[in-house]
């Protein structure tokens, strides 16, 4: 009995320890966020005068409304949303079509074309930036939706991911669809896409995440502040002086809220998308 007691005690201790550890780590991760909120709602000079405490001073929640109106945040978020939506839809279309072609069609140069597409994974956008910005300028696409979106409408990653997923569809289903009289279009729309919906959803979510957060490309192809995406608005705000620091911080919080909501709602799908490639099965 004493042994049993000790064992129970050991388990309780271990559980408590686990919770302690997990809570500690959570605090470490969330501390910057907390301090950011504190910083946002405390008037900057008052906050500094009081020696930058851990809790808000003279909390003013109106700062979020101020940040919204002062920094053109509504317009910027609408623009970012449009950019993210266009890129996401475009990437889904190109990835589904190309993924289907590589998984279910036979055509000349198939293997070579696949390698050609895959090889662009070795080519980061940062490398081609200078040349692509020039192309966009020549096309007259600076400060425009096409300029912000078109270069991101096709990626090797999406194509590869969907091709792999499509290849996992049992070949008998293609046979059965043939016997049912489904052509390629019908097979794609009625069978392949519905079956692959989890992966396609994950791809859509992480594409959206990436497009929303993207910084360098919008920075390079916009000159007019009215074409600033959300991320670029943050840059504008941080370069200003101490007295508006709380606005920058508040704007950053607002800009992250939609993504945070997306993350909470679709946590599983996003995680699946992010770990695709890293973890098999």
């Amino acid at each position: 009995m004493a042994v049993g007691d000790r064992r129970v005690l050991g388990r309780t201790l271990r559980t408590t320890g686990s919770y302690l550890l997990l809570s500690l780590l959570s605090v470490v991760i969330l501390l910057p966020v907390w301090l950011m909120i504190v910083r946002a709602v405390s008037p900057p000079f008052v906050y500094i005068d009081r020696g930058q405490p851990w809790f808000p001073v003279e909390a003013d929640w109106g700062v979020f409304a101020d940040a919204w109106s002062a920094s053109d945040l509504g317009r910027a978020m609408a623009l970012s949303l449009a950019v993210a939506a266009i890129i996401t839809v475009g990437q889904l279309l190109t990835s589904i079509m190309a993924g289907y072609a590589f998984a279910f069609l036979d055509f000349p140069l198939k293997r070579i074309l696949f390698v050609v597409i895959l090889a662009t994974m070795l080519l980061p956008a940062e490398v081609t930036l200078v040349a692509n910005v020039r192309t966009i300028r020549e096309l007259g696409w600076l400060d425009s939706l096409p300029g912000l979106t078109v270069p991101s409408l096709a990626t090797a990653f999406g194509i590869f991911l969907l091709r792999q997923t499509f290849l996992g569809i049992p070949p008998e289903l293609r046979d059965a669809a043939l016997l049912d009289g489904f052509g390629h279009y019908r097979f794609l729309r009625r069978v392949v896409v519905p079956i692959s919906r989890p992966t396609i959803g994950s791809l859509a979510l992480i594409t959206m995440l990436g497009a929303w957060g993207s910084y360098l490309w919008p920075r390079a192809v916009t000159t007019d502040p009215s074409w600033n995406t959300v991320q670029l608005v943050l840059r504008q705000l941080t370069t200003q002086e101490v007295d508006s620091a709380n606005l920058a911080v508040a704007a950053a919080i607002i800009s992250a809220v939609p993504i945070l909501v997306l993350l909470l709602v679709f946590q599983r799908q996003i995680i699946r998308g992010l770990s695709a490639g890293a973890v098999k099965g």
């Binding site: 559980t15 919770y19 997990l22 809570s23 780590l25 959570s26 991760i29 966020v33 301090l35 950011m36 910083r39 900057p44 500094i48 190109t94 079509m97 597409i117 662009t120 070795l122 080519l123 980061p124 940062e126 490398v127 081609t128 930036l129 200078v130 040349a131 692509n132 020039r134 192309t135 078109v150 096709a154 929303w212 957060g213 993207s214 910084y215 360098l216 920075r219 991320q231 943050l234 840059r235 941080t238 370069t239 620091a245 920058a248 911080v249 950053a252 800009s255 945070l260 997306l262 993350l263 909470l264 946590q267 995680i271 699946r272 992010l274 770990s275 490639g277 890293a278 973890v279 098999k280």
Partner: protein, 273 residues
């Protein structure tokens, strides 16, 4: 069905590669109206030049500052959160929450923390953004924090693929929890860690938003990463140099990816099948 993809990748992935070479060989005049031949000598000059060298060095240091620590922290978080406990999902959500933060947002977070003028910890000397010797650390910190969610999520997903029976077998073999982790779990998740390593390295090598928002490349150019330098060289007078630097960066990331991939594909343990 492939046509849109091929056109897009052709115009925005392959064409720019040749275009960069062209841009490196021809230098426009100040107004960008005429180009004159500068030839391969331009490549030699730029790639051996001081600017490129320091850019590479700063980017490399940035990688070293962010990747190992980031991986380690992600691993710690994942190991801590990979257990059967009531409410574990809440912790997992918290740990993965920085995924919602873009590079710019995390830069603002750390701007409010370590900006020399207004930051809560702006005067902490070992990561001061005002000191050329330490500024890069401050920038790196924001990048580590931003990537923590991603790293955690991938490592956790990898941990969850380790079959329970294997751990039970190891426990029956008398392995303690530490040895179970180092001898069984880590080898099994090493492919995921390798993948993650490459992703983090390449992305760290190309960090831009954090640098621009936190330091603007300063102080004294001490945080001017390679991408930052390239970005700064887009005026007609310097674009030729920027193009050559881009090619240099391509070579470096290419080699980095290849070396890492071949190294890891040999070392890592691809379990099961």
């Amino acid at each position: 069905m492939l046509l849109p993809t091929l056109v897009l990748l052709g115009v925005f992935a392959y064409f720019p590669l040749t275009r960069l070479v062209h841009m490196g060989l021809w230098r426009p005049n100040r107004f960008g109206t005429r180009e004159t031949w500068v030839g391969p000598a331009n490549f030699v000059e730029v790639l051996t030049g001081e600017d490129f060298r320091t850019g590479v060095w700063i980017s490399a240091r940035y990688v070293l500052l962010t990747v190992p620590i980031g991986l380690l922290l992600g691993l710690v978080l994942a190991l801590a959160a990979h257990r059967r406990l009531k409410g574990i999902r809440v912790f997992q959500t918290v740990f993965s929450s920085t995924i919602a933060s873009s590079a710019a947002v995390s830069a603002v977070v750390f701007y409010s923390l370590i900006n020399p003028k207004i930051g809560r910890f702006g005067d902490v000397s070992w990561l001061s953004l005002a000191d050329p010797d330490t500024a890069l650390r401050g920038v790196a910190l924001s990048s580590i924090w931003q990537n923590l969610g991603l790293t955690f999520v991938i490592v956790l997903a990898a941990l969850q693929t380790v079959p329970d029976e294997l751990l039970e077998a190891a426990a029956l073999d008398g392995f303690g929890s530490v040895r179970r982790t180092t001898k069984v779990v880590l080898p099994l998740i090493s492919p995921a860690l390798a993948f993650l390593g490459v992703v983090l390295m390449v992305s760290a090598f190309q960090s831009f938003a954090q640098v621009e928002l936190l330091t603007g490349g300063g102080p004294a150019g001490s945080t001017e990463t390679l991408v930052f330098k390239i970005f700064e060289r887009q005026s007609p007078g310097s674009i030729s140099e920027g193009a050559v630097m881009s090619i240099g960066m391509f070579a470096i990331t290419f080699v980095m990816t290849m070396v890492q991939l071949t190294l890891t594909s040999r070392k890592v343990h691809y379990g099961g099948r």
